[in-house]
Amino acid sequence: MARYESLIDALGDTPLVGLPHLSPRWEGERPVRLWAKLEDRNPTGSIKDRAALAMILAAEADGRLTPGCTILEPTSGNTGISLAMVAKLRGYGLVCVMPENTSIERRQLLEMFGARIISSPAAGGSNQAVATAKQLAEQYPDWVMLYQYGNPANAQAHYEGTGPELLRDLPTITHFVAGLGTTGTLMGTGRYLREKVPDIAIIAAEPRYGELVYGLRNIDEGFVPELYDNSVLTSRFSVTSYDALRRTRDLIEQEGIFAGISTGAILHAALSVAERVDAAGGQADVAFVVADGGWKYLSTGAYAGSLQQAAERLEGQLWA
């Protein structure tokens, strides 16, 4: 059944597609296969629709959100776009605190959905956006900050949605790989899959940015999301812009999938673990997340020119 009462109802149940060309060994006695979960097929084109809807429903249920309320959120883009869509359909205002060094497409989309954008300085990246949003929350106590980094509904959306969908579509799953940002996807999906498949490996890929983004004044200004629980993960990779871009292009060239840059980072980690399994003579079904499509990153130059040129253009940009 592919008929829905409204756009929100069309959320989730995204396709899981095989990568016969990029997998180390697609067929044969001990296959090592990669599977992409196409989260760009959600209503606003990213995995963040899941968390956004879940956080809004939870806030309505506990009475924090009432008709006409204004929602406040620090976001470098996708969560903001998802919140803007749900907020529009359910009658809320939205204020997004967004770092300056994010792509123009994201700003235009947010503005079109009617969100207000407050810019935070490029230096310090999302760290600074979180700090600015927390200050605003104090200044405007009637605004409701859903706070994706610490909101249990973010992880719960994946515990109830992404995890069960993956297990239904790939009962032989051995590895799950996703991006590490708010950590909601990995915590929720990881917990669900670990309960059902105790030996499963849960692997995080985090973006490694240019120095600007790590420009803290001192180490105690560092940040670990409240949702993060080390024990859910089995390994965690830091992926450079160059490697992320390289894999984004591999995905188009070999499998026809046009994904955003963070998906390249996730694929890079997925291939690392798949190649290790293959080298050790094992078999595996590795599922990874395509977090969004490449459309919102065209203006960054990520898909034009040589890899080296593209990576240089991304220096200082928040691409995940």
């Binding site: 310090g124 990246g125 760290n127 940002g181 995080a204 180490i219 560092g222 940040f223 992926v239 450079t240």
Partner: protein
């Protein structure tokens, strides 16, 4: 045995501004001791008084987070690349 260690901006006061330095050691713990000899004070910024990695410091050996590979006991080999970064907010 030379291991390249990338130093984040925030800790370069200890390395005379150098973005990367060479160190040696067969484990991460030994490497940090070795680095502290050449760059006194660095260890105190990475390791807590209780002897574990600082909560807001991430260390990667060949791009893999050491908290999942044995933490300070992670073994090192010649030619490995070690990256130190402060933990900052990511996500969309």
């Amino acid at each position: 045995m030379a291991i390249e260690v990338k130093i984040p901006t925030i800790l370069r006061t200890y390395t005379g501004g150098a973005k990367s330095v060479d160190g040696s050691g067969s484990t991460l713990s030994a490497l940090i001791d070795n680095l502290d000899g050449a760059h006194p004070g660095l260890k105190g910024r990475l390791i807590t008084d209780e002897g574990s990695l600082h909560r807001f410091v991430n260390v990667y050996v060949n791009d893999e987070d050491v908290r999942f590979t044995g933490s300070l006991d992670t073994t090192l080999n010649d030619g490995d690349s070690v990256t130190i970064l402060p933990a900052v907010a990511g996500g969309q």
